[in-house]
Symmetry: C2
Subunit: 339 residues, 2 copies
DNA sequence: TTGAAAGCGCTAACAT
DNA sequence: ATGTTAGCGCTTTCAA
């Protein structure tokens, strides 16, 4: 358990000793305090370089609870989903620019894992958190907000508390997809939903329903399938749909992974797209054009979502009392050849 | 700058006070020390629950430099590459099982970013690091190894130091791909390489060259293109290749992203695969079957790589003096219809 | 079984 | 301009 090999880290003390000054002076140098004699500063910097000293952030953080830890937490549901990867990239770029490092917690849609990670994040005394909680009533995250930890929610809000949110017009996006399907002439349009407790799934369902209604299409509950937002459930639910006595002529897939799963099933069955079955996805991927056939999809500006979220978070960290905002981004229908 | 809104965290002190015991006793309780009177323990636990106390890991770490911080660093070159995402998943699963959290550093192939992150990781006093450094001579990582920080390298080794490594038979994998191409009858086989300074790129090139030789095919240097391992360079280099006066009849793409980029170019030009141009990729993706056409590829066991790396790392953390190992995993040729 | 106290590395008064 | 010192929250001897 004990690491005997532990590598000795040079401490402020050693630097002070070697430079013949007090620890306070060294501290001032590393924090760029102006009140240091230029010569002293030079000497100290020299020693720092010699000793390859770098300040212990753990100690810094313990000391300064109210000052930046330069750590941001990111809590995402599923790193296998390219959408979240793009969001993460956006966050990461902004974080890096502002000298924040990221503690990344992928809870893989497992609530226990989410709990553990939130505990860790909290006790690491992160500066702020970007989270896509399991659902709007996530008590753990709500408590964190109440306690004053700067938080920005992504892709879904939080009910009962005031919190910054960055999301996308899910209902509108879904509507545009299903409307496109209907206008193209499809009559029996199915919806494969992600986890139904996630607000975005619900809003997409609403968009789907609204579009059917707007186009005078009947709602057939058998054509709505609920899954868990993962590839596997796309595969399975698409099979169920295609096995129906009266199968759909088009599928609206609730997210990335479901689309890919559904595609897999369709190809395994040797069906032609869009001839025998049309498909449209929520979430575009940069390789959608190379899919068979090039996929028509509702594009969410994922990178932008992450970027905005990180920017909001940093603003909030700097000024915790600023009023909360909801950033709502638009989706875009990318029409290719799958419907 | 100062966060006036700072949320008060309950400290050991408060718990001790409230429970009418000393801080030492509370500490013993949270660390499951056996030397605590059962009644006292119960009372303390009660108070802990009441106050929703959770120990401050920062303080714990500062105190116990030689004891687990339960933080692992992960340094990966490109989170947009699905290969690394899978590796990350493997790492993450093992880390979670062992109650480690991950500080994820995506350096996006930017050396300055890598430096910054390594500094942060070091000063966060992580327990260990899983890294895929820019190249074998990465001084920063080499220094870390020398200082005794437990490190496992992924996808590439480190020259001059003894370090645990998990990688894949790159040469053999590339050979099998190009050999398959040659045996299928392709004569002018191109190679689009990732960053040429990365050992795996070099080994794949070697496999490519060997396979050409083994099949009596001439080497045409014009058919070897070097890029930066990203989607964009797949797009561009494939264009160059197809624009050649004497273009290739097959392309071996050095990784995931390059394959997707090349595919994009081929589709934009309206060429048929494999009729007008065949393609085979290094790195399989779970949606390869849904590509147009279903992609033939060399599969690396990415999840397994991550899993093994994390396992090795945890072993090394527990016993820093154990001798280093190289885990070398096999690739697998997934034959579908792109060549 | 419990408590008192030192100290991990650092910063911010306060003093000089 | 610089040094002295207290203390962040915790664990761990050492004593009782």
């Amino acid at each position: 358990m004990i690491n005997e090999n532990v590598y000795k880290i040079v401490s402020l003390n050693k630097v002070a000793e070697r430079a013949g000054v007090s620890t306070a002076t060294v501290s001032r140098v590393i924090n760029n305090s102006p009140n240091v004699n230029p010569e002293t500063r030079l000497k100290v910097q020299q020693v720092i370089r010699e000793l390859k000293y770098s300040p212990n952030r753990v100690a810094q953080r313990l000391r300064n609870r109210n000052v930046s830890s330069n750590l941001l937490g990111v809590l995402i549901p599923d790193i296998q989903n390219p959408f979240y990867v793009e969001v993460l990239r956006g966050i990461e770029d902004v974080a890096y620019e502002n000298k924040y490092a990221l503690i990344m917690c992928n809870f893989a849609q497992d609530e226990r894992k989410e709990m553990l990670y939130l505990d860790i994040l909290q006790s690491e005394s992160i500066d702020g958190l970007i989270a896509a909680p399991t659902n709007e009533h996530d008590q753990k995250v709500i408590n964190l907000v109440r306690r004053g930890l700067p938080i920005v929610c992504v892709d879904r809000g939080l009910s009962g508390v005031d919190v910054d949110v960055v999301l996308v017009e899910n209902r509108v996006g879904a509507f545009s997809a299903v409307d496109h399907l209907a206008k193209t002439g499809y009559k029996r349009i199915a919806y494969i939903s992600g986890l139904p407790q996630i607000p975005s799934s619900q809003q997409r369902e609403k968009g789907y329903l609204d579009a059917l209604a707007a186009n005078g299409l009947a709602i057939d509950r058998n054509l709505i399938k609920y899954g868990d937002s993962r590839h596997e459930s796309g595969v399975k639910l698409c099979e169920e749909l295609l096995g129906l006595p009266d199968p759909p002529d088009a599928i609206f897939a609730g997210n990335n992974l479901i689309t890919l799963g559904a595609l897999e099933t369709i190809h395994k069955k040797g069906l032609t797209i869009p001839g025998q079955i049309a498909i449209i996805g929520f979430d575009d991927m940069y390789w959608s054009i190379s899919l068979n056939p090039p996929l028509t999809a509702v594009r969410q500006p994922a990178y932008e979502i992450g970027k905005r979220a990180a920017e909001q978070l940093i603003l909030r960290i700097k000024d915790p009392s600023r009023s909360t905002v909801s950033v709502i981004l638009k989706t875009e229908l990318m029409i290719r050849s799958s419907c």
